[in-house]
């Protein structure tokens, strides 16, 4: 540590910020567990406060209107990712794990790793996986149709990706619990130092050790997505260590997020039976339906950026080292952009929603996520006449993800 860093008292791992007097102050705790479980009034309050607001509780700025959120999130020159996409400023405090070389990196480093990942997860590659996705979806769904009641989170949302995704990556070691939990740990870690983050940190050593070991080249088959990434190392595009880090990124960003997307989709349909009817009538709506699920539930609700120089948001000055909450969930519910954001309409085609981010950090795995959801939703649309709640759904608070904890359902077969 340099002298400058040791004398500065950090707040939530970042430099203290004195906001410009023109920026409205919003005295809320977005990470309160009741807010995380039901964030819509926080989203609305943030949008109403102004194009940017100051949250004293965590000493950060926040954006939640569609335009400013999209703008800030994708402005990778002024608002960087390499200083961490959570509260900790990696320039001032050591991160809990070696930073991701794609999620927590800026150009030009990012450009190189992003290229390798886009190729490995391209529409062409995803096309080759679709038969397996459909077959697995049939197995998962058929097994449940004989039962009167199912637990949607464990038996569908977790069961499907943990079956297909490790196979797609080419993993020889499979531990579904660790795979799902690793993502949840990484996403809780981007939050403030609260009970959720501390619990995640307590489990991190065990789970991260398993994940790192499972990403080694000799633990992967030679025909999966992992092999494509190690192949890029053979070509000299990246180093072998970078390849291992990128395989780790598949697992942190590709399992828990998809689990969440599936759970949220089932929840939306169980709440909107007319939209399930619409999907059954036209199963080609499976892909646009997933976009609408993403828009209305925002599985990744918030990521942060760090101002890397003195800049501004909507004309308000923002000083270097300010952390900015980009509340993707709020942008996805902005009535200015969407007109009737509360309505779940599977034919909306919400192009430009923020659930996968935007700009150079837009989710590189979005094509595979769409492939998985398309397979599962279209198989279900063929076989399931109705999806009904069989008890109250419960949300599982997480500092960056809005996921279900429990989703009791009745699946009524055709």
């Amino acid at each position: 540590m340099t002298g400058k860093e040791t004398t500065m008292t950090l707040i939530e791992g970042h430099a203290p910020l004195t906001p410009d007097a023109s920026i409205p102050v919003l005295d809320v705790d977005p990470y309160d567990e009741t807010v995380l479980a039901d964030p819509f009034s926080w989203y609305a309050a943030l949008r109403e406060a102004g194009p940017v607001a100051f949250i004293p509780r965590y000493n950060v700025l926040a954006v939640g209107r569609y335009e400013e959120t999209r703008q800030t999130f994708s402005d990778h020159e002024n608002f960087v990712s390499s200083r961490g996409i959570g509260f900790n400023d990696f320039k001032l405090e050591k991160p809990w794990r070696p930073p991701s070389i794609i999620l927590e990196a800026d150009p030009p480093d990012h450009t190189k790793t992003r290229r390798v990942m886009s190729k490995a997860l391209s529409p062409k590659v995803v096309r080759t996986l679709m038969d397996d996705f459909r077959a697995a979806a049939e197995e998962v769904v058929d097994a449940l149709l004989e039962r009167s009641e199912v637990e949607g989170v464990v038996e569908i949302a977790e069961a499907f990706p943990t079956r297909v995704f490790p196979r797609a990556v080419g993993m020889r070691d499979v531990n579904p619990r660790h795979l799902v939990d690793y993502g949840a740990i990484v996403f809780n870690a981007v939050g403030p130092d609260n009970a959720l983050r501390r619990a995640a940190m307590a489990r991190a050593p065990e789970v991260a050790a398993w994940i790192n070991a499972a990403c080694a080249r000799d633990r992967l088959t030679d025909d999966g997505l992992g092999a494509l990434v190690y192949g890029a190392a053979d070509e000299g595009e990246i180093t072998p260590d970078e390849a291992a880090m990128l395989v780790r990124s598949f697992l942190s960003a590709g399992v828990d997020t998809t689990v969440t997307g599936i759970g949220n989709a089932l929840w939306c349909f169980s709440q909107n039976p007319d939209q399930w009817e619409a999907l059954k009538a036209d199963p080609s709506l499976a892909r646009p339906a997933f976009e609408e699920v993403l828009r209305i539930t925002s599985p990744v609700h918030t990521f942060l950026r760090t101002a890397n120089l003195d800049t501004e948001i909507a004309g308000h000055p923002v000083p270097e080292s300010a952390k900015v909450l980009c509340v993707l969930g709020a942008a996805n519910m902005d009535p200015e952009k969407w007109g009737d954001p509360e309505a779940f309409r599977i034919d909306r085609r919400p192009v430009g929603h923020m659930a996968f981010g935007a700009g150079i950090h837009g989710c590189v795995g979005q094509n595979i996520a769409r492939g998985e959801l398309e397979a599962l939703l279209s198989v279900m649309a063929e076989k399931v006449d109705r999806i009904e709640p069989a008890g109250p759904a419960r949300w599982r608070p997480n500092n960056a993800i809005r996921a279900l904890d429990r989703l009791p359902l009745k699946l009524i077969p055709n």
Binding site: S118, K119, I360, N367
Partner: protein
């Protein structure tokens, strides 16, 4: 206003008028042109907005960036010299009358 014609694989076409600065993708999405899917909303992450620029317009559009080429290389339909991601192709007065061809498949 700038006119753009979208030609489908079956030969049918649709002509729209957009403002300079809009992308060829945005204009198509606004009017629901089939075959411009644009799932990623313009982040160069999906390649489902792939179009072929008509031969008559070769050399009149700006050039593709390296990252656009990388993504086009990942598209479902074959990448040709005339391939563009329509989310990266911006309307200018000079492009008035542009014709783009939509590929058979996008994902």
């Amino acid at each position: 206003m700038v006119k753009v014609t979208y030609r489908q694989p079956d030969g049918s076409e649709q002509t729209l008028e957009g403002k300079p600065g809009d992308s060829v993708m945005q204009l198509a999405i606004g009017a629901g042109v089939p075959g411009i899917v644009a799932e990623c909303g313009g982040s160069m992450a999906c390649a489902t907005c792939h179009v072929y620029v008509d031969d008559a317009w070769t050399g009149k559009t700006d050039t593709r960036s390296e990252s656009e080429e990388d993504m086009l290389d990942c598209a479902m339909a074959e990448m040709k010299d005339s391939s563009r991601l329509s989310c990266q192709l911006r309307l200018t007065e000079a492009l008035d009358g542009l014709v783009v061809h939509i590929p058979e498949e996008q994902f």
